[in-house]
């Protein structure tokens, strides 16, 4: 979500700290890892909003900034197609990007994603479908 490894490291540490501190309040009505996903997604969205506010740029410009980070990243080990897919993902809105990553890379079910992001399954399906169509169009339009 945030592309840069150092940012990811900070966020993951924050996530685990919050998990540790709020573990006593964890309700057993959800699985632990979906609860952790929810914390992680909130942290990612909060981080991106802070980055936007700090640099006084829009979310779209944050995406461009992330694309630059991706181009310079030393921790990207994918091929050309994978890089292009990442560039396509970065064109998506945060929520769609989040859903696509969970579905595509983590192979999560819609119910699990729904628990993690707090959105209904139907809305998630629609969001995911839009995201995939945009990515497909991006991959086909640019070589």
């Amino acid at each position: 979500m945030v592309i840069d490894h150092d940012d990811s490291d900070d966020i993951s540490q924050d996530v685990f700290v919050k998990v540790w501190k709020n573990l006593a309040g964890f309700r057993n009505d959800a699985q632990l890892y979906t609860w952790m996903y929810r914390i992680a997604t909130n942290e990612c969205i909060t981080f991106l909003n802070k980055k936007k506010a700090k640099n006084n740029i829009s979310l779209d410009e944050v995406d461009y900034s992330l694309a630059d980070t991706l181009a310079d990243s030393t921790y990207f080990d994918g091929d050309k197609a994978q890089r292009k897919l990442q560039e396509a993902i970065l064109t998506l809105p945060d929520k769609q990007r989040l859903v696509f990553n969970m579905k595509y890379y983590d192979d999560m079910k819609y119910e699990e994603i729904s628990d993690a992001v707090g959105t209904s399954v139907g809305a998630l399906k629609a969001s995911f479908h839009l995201a995939v169509k945009k990515i497909e169009a991006f991959l086909l339009s640019k070589d």
């Binding site: 540490q13 700290v17 501190k21 921790y75 990207f76 080990d77 994918g78 995939v132 990515i135 497909e136």
Partner: protein, 240 residues
Amino acid sequence: MGNKEWLNEFEALKQVNPNNPFTVPAGYFDEAEQMINSRILLDETAPAEANGFTVPENYFDELSANIQSRINIEAFVNNPEHGHAVPAGYFDNLEEQINARIFVEEALGEEENFSVPEGYFNQLNKAILNKTVNQEMVKRKGVVRRMFATGAFKYAAAACFALVVGTGVYLRQITDPVYEHDHSYLHKQLSSISVNDIQSYLQDDVDANDTQPSVIDEGAPVNDADLSKALQGYNTNNNE
């Protein structure tokens, strides 16, 4: 991978390797547990609510107004129409200029080239007052010196005055025509002759054609020798 069946509808996406292309540094996950534990420990020992920094009461209530005032002031100051402006690029070189100035001053020596005597500034206020306000007060008071410091001066002055007056009177007397006549030789000699004798002499010895030179010619200086001789003859004749 049953959930990946949706990829069949998207051929371009299906051809992309679905593995996560992002990696982490070597040994990252080996150290992750320790790092997270350290982070939790730090978070518990130094909670975010007690980070040591506070703001004054009602700070954020007044923050908006303060920022707006600051913006207005800076806009006013930076507006060249108000006479307050800096040259173009002034702030670009300001830091460099200040650093250069500091370097030069340090190179010249830490001590200042100009110094003042010890305790100078402690006495400065007093010295200024003495040379300004206090001096005027002294001038206003002045020094009163007695003209006649001793009693002898009075007598000496009186003597000088008397001498001057006496000299004046004396000079006036000796230059007075009456005084000069009274003390002349003719007057002294004629004073011993009675008026009757003079009248008799003039009646007997002098007529209108008398060519005897007059004893005194008007305007001519008196010749005492001739006058004495003439009077000698008169006295001799008169006694006879």
